[in-house]
């Protein structure tokens, strides 16, 4: 596809003059990654990292003169707006900011157009995190591998990290826990309610709340939900012995070193417990880092440290991907699709990602983590994050993930609330997930029930 543009002579002369002036001023010349393009609209959720995204978008507008409108919504509201837009004959949103819980639905439904189909010359920066290759989709095989087309660009490489009180650890002469046994021992040591809880977990039932909190435990104990999604084997393994150990541990931690209202604690309350100095640990998406050192929001400025989520001895950290990807709607005009590509081309650069980091966001370009900024005290979370990211697990590779998440949210919450035993919860959830997968004609099966 070729595009022809008529440029007025006056603009050419102006441009030459500006280029000549810029070349005389050292450091004034910056490569322009984006052409002048149509205004675009991005639908996005109001997450802890949103402010950094907004400021990055402002930087894009200032640098290129292009216009970007942001439609900001709560988590569930964003999904609903995206569904309404992509299912209409003409879409309202050019770029969809999709969560790990629903991007597969957008890929498989044919709602997102491959970036390389819009611009065959688009080159992905080699330093961009591909996050379990979830930015690719092979429609023929329904898999997310590099063999597929480039469907999206990472926007926020969110994974949970262990936030712990560095000051308390220093006083007690402890080092960051690497195993679940160490975490439990340390949490119990600091547990002194109601002033201080050993750990505060996100155990409430929500759109993707307790399930997301549980993934690092489940995978860190060597468990999982499905046997092997990459090969299309969706046999349910949730109620394995490892799954049971993980859930027993999670519930025990809540009871013996956690907050009494774990079953009703959502993300905001967990962050609140940390910033008010009422807990020694939380496991939370890294996006909340900027709140920890914000004197207007935090009573524990400069006291929090970060580490990869623990695992059992012999296994590596296994945080669940809770990342956000930017995909371009199929049902918007071509000029807006091209404008969206220009934005993503600019967004992936190291320079843009440095802006993101400085604005409190999490860079998606690995080159930023090798910059001097990563050694600054304020960005002390960068190195542990870079260490953990390669081990992140993509939990769902199929479009019906929201149904499975609903089952997990209910079953896990009931176990945390003590409404049912961990064994009943795991067996019950496994049965329901197997039924869902069978209903959608996936190759599935289940383990013998736990006793």
């Amino acid at each position: 596809m070729t595009f022809t543009t008529r440029i007025p002579r006056r603009n050419v002369l102006k441009g030459m003059g500006m280029a000549a002036t810029a070349s005389l001023v050292p450091g004034a010349f910056r490569p322009l990654y984006a052409a002048s393009v149509a205004p675009i609209t991005i639908v996005i959720n109001q997450s802890p990292w949103f402010e950094s995204f907004r400021r990055t978008v402002e930087a894009y507008e200032a640098e290129t003169g292009n216009k970007v409108e942001l439609d900001v919504n709560p988590f569930a509201g964003s999904l609903e707006k995206q569904r309404n837009s992509v299912r209409a004959s003409a879409g309202q949103y050019d770029i969809l900011i999709m969560n790990s819980g629903w991007f597969a639905e957008m890929y498989a439904g044919g709602f997102v157009e491959a970036i390389t189909d819009i611009d065959p010359g688009f080159q992905l920066d080699p330093e961009i995190y591909t996050l379990g290759d979830t930015i690719y989709y092979d429609a023929a095989n329904k898999t997310m591998t590099k063999a597929g087309k480039l469907m999206s660009m990472p926007v926020s490489p969110l994974i949970p990290m262990l936030y712990y009180r560095g000051d308390l650890y220093q006083e007690a002469g402890l080092s960051a826990p690497k195993t679940f046994a160490e975490l439990e021992a340390n949490a119990k040591k600091f547990h002194n309610p109601p002033g201080m809880y050993g750990i505060v977990q996100r155990g409430a039932r929500g759109p993707h709340t307790v399930a997301y909190d549980f993934y690092p435990y489940l995978y860190g104990f060597g468990g999982g939900i499905f046997k092997d999604q990459a090969t299309g084997d969706y046999s349910v393994t949730l109620n394995s012995d490892q799954g049971r150990e993980a859930l027993d541990y999670y519930v025990r931690l809540a009871k013996e070193a956690g907050h009494p209202k774990t079953a009703a604690s959502d993300q905001a309350e967990v962050i609140q417990a940390m910033v008010t100095g009422h807990t020694a640990h939380i496991m939370m998406v890294i996006a909340a880092w900027s709140q920890m050192d914000d004197p207007n929001k935090s009573a524990i400025v400069d006291k929090v440290e970060w580490a990869p989520t623990p695992s059992v001895e012999g296994l590596t950290t296994s945080p669940g991907l809770g990342h956000w990807l930017a995909g371009i709607s199929r049902n918007v005009p071509d000029d807006r699709k091209r404008a969206a590509v220009e934005f993503l081309r600019w967004f992936q650069t190291k320079a843009a990602q440095l802006e993101t980091a400085k604005a409190g966001g999490i860079p998606v370009n690995a080159a930023v983590y090798k910059e001097p900024i990563a050694d600054e005290r304020r960005y002390r979370w960068m190195k542990p994050l870079a260490e953990a990211l390669p081990h992140a697990v993509n939990i769902y590779q199929f479009p019906e993930a929201s149904e499975v998440i609903s089952v997990l949210e209910l079953g896990l919450n009931r176990a945390v609330a003590g409404e049912i035993t961990t064994v009943d919860a795991l067996n019950g959830m496994s049965d329901e997930i197997e039924k869902i997968m069978a209903g959608h004609s996936y190759k599935t099966g289940k383990l013998d029930p736990l006793k």
């Binding site: 569904r83 498989a108 044919g110 009703a264 049902n331 209910l410 009931r414 609330a417 409404e419």
Partner: protein, 311 residues
């Protein structure tokens, strides 16, 4: 002969009457038709579409909707959906519990208000305040009030030596807490209807009762309550239907948790239809809920008819 004459006299007028009737009928249809068409378009058609969708599965491929006929599958699945079962039973507990509380409190407040002479307007304004507050604000107010760590309820209980309790996070008290919030929110509605009913009661009956020596309690039991029964039934029916549709309070305070403790049917519907994007199954659930609410309404109205007939 007189009859024959009358027939002769009236026969020329007959066509005029027929054409007048036709004209009137046409006029009636012309004026009534748009309203009927509007009603059909806005209420009957969406429900018919919902009913049709309840027999289908909706999926998406290449950006296009694919509808597959599945017959009664979704309706059969309702019986094995534990969330649906929990939703129905919690909704019934919620609806009857909350409405009973609202009726008793609303009636008591209305009775008190009729006895107050000074500051009556002020009391009424204070009593109806909660009903004017938007649901989202009520969610925020009570989420803060019932907060485990810094909620006013726990702080107040702490003053008398009671340990803090997790009102919304404990399976034992979560539904009770939501019912309490709903009572706080909707009692003014009952209060207003009861007040209007009490103020329209004929005073001569009360005077006669007093002359017969009836005390305040006897007056309430033997005069006020029987006269108020139609108002009580209408208020009950209104509130029951509204309570059956509760969503915002549950969504904001507990999201149906912990576990299924506060799972109400509207929330289950939201989960299945919107979050899980199961439009076909969600439609079947919606049809079932519409049927249940209609059934409740019919029962309440027939009760009113029976009491009306009896009185």
């Amino acid at each position: 002969m007189a009859a024959a004459q009358a027939q002769t006299l009236s026969s020329p007028r007959r066509p005029a009457k027929v054409s007048e009737d036709r004209g009137q009928r046409l006029w009636r249809w012309l004026t009534f038709g748009p309203a009927l068409a509007m009603m059909l378009a806005l209420s009957v058609l969406p429900i018919a579409n919902l009913f049709l969708t309840s027999f289908q599965n909706i999926t998406w491929a290449d950006g296009q909707q694919v509808r597959t006929w599945v017959g009664l599958t979704h309706y059969q699945a309702l019986f094995s959906d534990s969330l649906f079962g929990a939703g129905i039973s919690n909704t019934l507990i919620f609806a009857f519990g909350a409405v009973a509380g609202q009726m008793v409190l609303g009636f008591a407040m209305a009775l008190l208000c009729t006895k107050i002479v000074r500051g009556r307007v002020l009391y009424r304004a204070i009593f109806i305040l909660p009903i004017l507050i938007p649901g989202i604000v009520i969610g925020a107010i009570w989420k803060l009030m019932l907060n485990f760590d810094f909620g006013l309820v726990n702080k107040a209980l702490g003053l008398i030596g009671i340990l803090p309790h997790d009102w919304l996070g404990s399976p034992e008290t979560a539904l009770l807490s939501v019912i309490a919030v709903d009572i706080w929110h909707w009692t003014p509605f009952c209060f207003l209807l009861f007040l209007a009913g009490l103020e329209s009661l004929p005073q001569d009956v009360f005077e006669a009762a007093r002359m017969d020596g009836a005390g305040a309690w006897q007056e309430l039991v033997y005069v006020t309550l029987p006269l108020m029964i139609p108002t009580i039934i209408v208020t009950f029916a209104f509130r029951l239907v509204l309570a059956f549709k509760v969503f915002d309070e549950v969504y904001l305070l507990t999201s149906g948790g912990p576990g299924t403790s506060t799972e109400v049917i509207s929330f289950t519907l939201y989960q299945r239809f919107f979050t899980e994007d199961k439009a076909g199954y969600g439609s079947a659930m919606s049809v079932a809920v519409i049927f249940l609410v209609s059934l409740l309404l019919v029962l309440a109205l027939s009760a009113r008819r029976r009491t009306g007939a009896a009185s």
